[in-house]
Symmetry: C2
Subunit: 171 residues, 2 copies
Amino acid sequence: MADSVALDPVDLHILRLLQNDARTTYRDLAAQVGVAPSTCLDRVTRLRRSGVILGHQLRLDPARLGRGLQALLSVQVRPHRRDLVVPFVERIRALPEALSLFHLTGPDDFLVHVAVAGPAELQRLVLDAFTARREVARVETRLIFQQWECGPLLPPDAAADVPRDAVGESW
Amino acid sequence: MADSVALDPVDLHILRLLQNDARTTYRDLAAQVGVAPSTCLDRVTRLRRSGVILGHQLRLDPARLGRGLQALLSVQVRPHRRDLVVPFVERIRALPEALSLFHLTGPDDFLVHVAVAGPAELQRLVLDAFTARREVARVETRLIFQQWECGPLLPPDAAADVPRDAVGESW
DNA sequence: GATGAAATATGTGGTCC
DNA sequence: GGACCACATATTTCATC
């Protein structure tokens, strides 16, 4: 289901361009990749069907929406049982302040990325949506100075997959 | 520059719909919002110019691209001076494994979200791109079991902004 | 903010390799 | 089987009110 998909150079070129600007038209894609627009449409349709492309997302500026303060909340949910974890996840996902949620290994079970209007709203959020709950054993709040999105996501370079002589001895 | 923008109900409705599916056509937006397609175009254009909409992003499935393992790396950059921090940020942003990068308050200066093929590649990444650098004082790696994107980002509800009687005494 | 016409993009079927 | 072309449809964009 989550198997890696074989991608040829045309697919990769299209993905790179679309990651720069997801609204690039098939006409422009075609011109830059060197194939016909219909071929681009074909490729993108297949990439969507094969699950490589999950969808298109709008990137918004939280600050312009009156949510100028972002933070990461590390949360311990204890006991870490499914009957407590599943409702916790659903509750956090439904919070208007939550942007994204990670379930992690390590001493902190969850990391929650939130955007709020300011420190007062953050304090209220921590107290009301987190520490007020019995299953939330601990919350650690870190403010975000700045965030960067990184380069385009592409398959690991084939060169990096060169087999090593002996497993566990190549590093 | 990062001031909050005044948004009317039509703007908010459009943003909500576009956050569900960023490829909704102006025609469909218009039908659902109850205005003309050209008005939707107008609104979206203004939202882009005012900086509320930063852009459109392709959501890809890292697992299908042969990057089935994701992790968060907490990194201390010491000394935490601009002449070390700025090149660090640029170097991390250029890593093909990096998805996103946070500069934070707290004992850990940076959080790096990475996607790799597997544990071996993660180990190589930590050793070669992080701990090999003199300015990287500490790295802590946590694996990501699962990630969720949360509900649409919208301005804080006006009701939540009701002024309190006394600052610092309302919670 | 709406209308409608022009420009542009998208989707389809036939054809070729 | 995949890529390309040309055509038909749908969408976006813009001038005008």
